[in-house]
Subunit: 376 residues, 2 copies
Amino acid sequence: MICTIDIAHQAAKRLESSRSFLSKTVAMTRAPRKATIYDIARLSGASPSTVSAALGESWRTRRISEATVEAIRKVAAEQGYSANMQARGLRKARSGLVGMIIPLHDNRFFTALSQSFEAFARERGLVPVIASSLREPEEERRIVETLISYAVDFLFIAGATDPDTVSRMCKAADLRHIFVDLPGRGAPSVVSDNHKGAAELTRRLLVDRPVTGQTPRDRLYLIGGDASDYATGRRIEAFRDVLTEAGIPPLPEQIIACGYAPRSAMREIAALCDRLGGLPGGLLVNSLTVFEGVLGHLSGLPAEALRASVIGCYDYDPFAAWLQFPVHMVRQDAHGLIREAYRMIDDNVRSLVLTMVEPEQIAPRTFYDSPFADRG
Amino acid sequence: MICTIDIAHQAAKRLESSRSFLSKTVAMTRAPRKATIYDIARLSGASPSTVSAALGESWRTRRISEATVEAIRKVAAEQGYSANMQARGLRKARSGLVGMIIPLHDNRFFTALSQSFEAFARERGLVPVIASSLREPEEERRIVETLISYAVDFLFIAGATDPDTVSRMCKAADLRHIFVDLPGRGAPSVVSDNHKGAAELTRRLLVDRPVTGQTPRDRLYLIGGDASDYATGRRIEAFRDVLTEAGIPPLPEQIIACGYAPRSAMREIAALCDRLGGLPGGLLVNSLTVFEGVLGHLSGLPAEALRASVIGCYDYDPFAAWLQFPVHMVRQDAHGLIREAYRMIDDNVRSLVLTMVEPEQIAPRTFYDSPFADRG
DNA sequence: ATGAAAGCGCTAACAA
DNA sequence: TTGTTAGCGCTTTCAT
C-alpha cells in the first residue's frame, strides 16, 4: 500500500519543518543560471582564462599571482561556482569518469568490488560509474557503448560475458580496460586463484562429509555456474582434480553447471534431491546467487536432513557464513583484486598479463572483519 | 599472495588465446581518433547538421528524407560512430546521467535500491551514477557537488545524513531531487512506513519471546541506528508504543541507538550481554549492518544461549533470514520505493510530499522471490 | 529538404 | 603576470 501526504500540511510538525525553511523554499521560484567562469571573470575583474587557471591546477605553471588566485577563489566561492565537467571533459578529452561493469548489484561479492572500486576512484579524484549487465552480453555491449560515449577514462569489467567483443569495442575507442574476476584475452586481467580456492574447498568438504560410502548420495556435487566461463571452468577442474586424487573421480552428473540464477539453482537442487532421495553427502555451491536458490529448496527440508550433508560455497557472505548448518566459504579478496587493477592502470600496463590474487577459506560461523566494517 | 603471468607466454593455451587474435592486438598500435559527425558528414556527403539530425531524433521534424537518413546511418555504423555525450550534454544542458546516493554498496537493502534504480533508469535511456556516502555528511556534500558538476538530470538521495544542505545545494543548481528512505524537508520524499514495520516486528517479538518475566534479561531491546534520523526515530517510537500498550514501557537503556557500524554494534551487544549476564529475551536489530556486528558477537556464544532470545531485524537479507536461530525480518519494498520516486520525477512533482510505501514482514526461514531472482 | 553558423563552458596556445 | 583566441563535438536557429 502506498500513501502520500503533503508535508506542508499534515506532517509539518512530525518533520519539524521550520516555517522559515518552507517559505524560503516556496519563494524560490527559479534558480538563476549556474555561474560560469565568465561570470566569475566579470565579477573579479580578471579574464576567463585567468579564472580557469586560478580555479584549476594550472595556476602555478601559468604563474598567476597568489593574490589574484585568492581573489578569484573568493568570488567563485561566493557565487557557489562549480566547474561544468561536460565542458571541461569535452575540451580535455577526458571526463574524470571511470566505469565498472558488474553482473549485478545485489550480491556481496560484487558489492565488495563496487565498494573498493569507488574508494580507489575517489582517492584519485575520479567519479565511478558502476553498471550491472545482469550477465547479458547484449546489455554488456550497450553499457560499454554508453560508457564510451561518456568518455570514461578507463573501464573495469567484472564477470565479463563476452570479453572479446568488449575488448574490440574498447580498442576502437582507445579505451583502457581491465578484466576482473573473469579474464579476457584482449586486455590485462586480475582474477582470483579459482583453482586453488576450489581445491581447498573441495578438500575441506571431503574431510568433513558425514558419510564416506560409495552410493550416489554419498558423493560430492558441484552446483551452479556457467561451464563455459573461465572461473567456473577452473573450479570444476579443481573439483575434479581433488576427487580424482582421492580416488573417487567425479561422474559427469556430479557437476551441475546450471548457471547463476537462484531460480534455476532451486530447480536443479530439487531435482537432484529427488533423484538421490535426499541431499548429497557434500555440496560445493558455485556462487552466492546459486546458494540463495539452493537455500530456497533447503528451507523446505527438516533440520535433520541437513546433517547428512556438508556445504561449501565459493564466495563469502557474512550472513551465509552463519546459517543453521555449517557452511565453508571461500572469500575472494575483492579489495585486493581492485587494488591490483588500479595498479595496472596507474602503471599503465598494456601487456596481456593475468594477475592472480589468492582467495581465503573462511571456516563456518566466522566473523570476517571487512575493510568497511566501521561503516554502516 | 599475488602472482602475475604473461598470458602471451605461459598461459596462452589455458585461455585458448588464438594467435590471430593476439597478433591483431599487438599490431594495433594506436586507435584513430573517434569519428565525429564531421567525419560522417564528409563520408556521406551531407552537412554536419543533417548528420546530427539523422542520427538523433529530430530528423522527422526537420523532414530529412528517409533515403538520406538511411545513407547517413549506414556510414555511421560502418565507422562505428557513437555520439560524444559530453558535447551533446554541453549543448543541450542536460547530461543523460542520473544520480543516486546510498550510504554504502555492501548491504542488501541498498543494493536492492541500486538494482531497481538502474533498471528504471535504463528503461528511460538514462545512465545511472550511484555513489556511496558512507554516511559521512562531508562525503555526501562532495558527491552532490560532483554530480552537479556532471549535470545529472536528477538525483535520488537514500539515507541522507544532511538533507537540508543537500536540498540547498540542489536548489542552487536547479537540480531536481527526491529523498528516499530518509526524508528531507526541501524536496519530495519516499519512505517506508517505519512505524508500522517496526510495530509489527515488535509485536511479533513480544509474542515469540521465550520468557515473559520482569527481570532485565526478560526485556526487549532495540539496538542500532541513529536516534537523530527519521527512520530510527519512527522505529523507536513504534517500539515504545507497542511495549507501552503491552503494559511494559521500555526503560531508556532498552534502546541502544549506537549507529549503523558493525563494529560498534558488536561492542554494544557484548556490553549488553555482560550487563545482563546473557542475551536479552528479545532483540530488535535496526539494520543489516548492525545485525552483522551483532552476529559477530553471537558467533562466540553456544547454540543454547540463543534459544533464550528472539531476534528481529529491520531490513531483509535472504541469508540472514535463514540463520541458525529464527530471525523475523522486515522487508522494505525497495523496488516500490524507487518506482514511486521515478513516478514523482516523471510527473514532475515539485510539492513537498511524503509518500509512504509499506514494508512487509517476512517470517523466519522464508524464501523471498526478489524481482531479479532469475538473474545471477 | 538541407546547409551555414553560432554557441554551450571550458582549456591551452599564443600574445602581450 | 595576464588577456585574446580558437576550438573540443554537438544541437539549433535561421537561411536557402
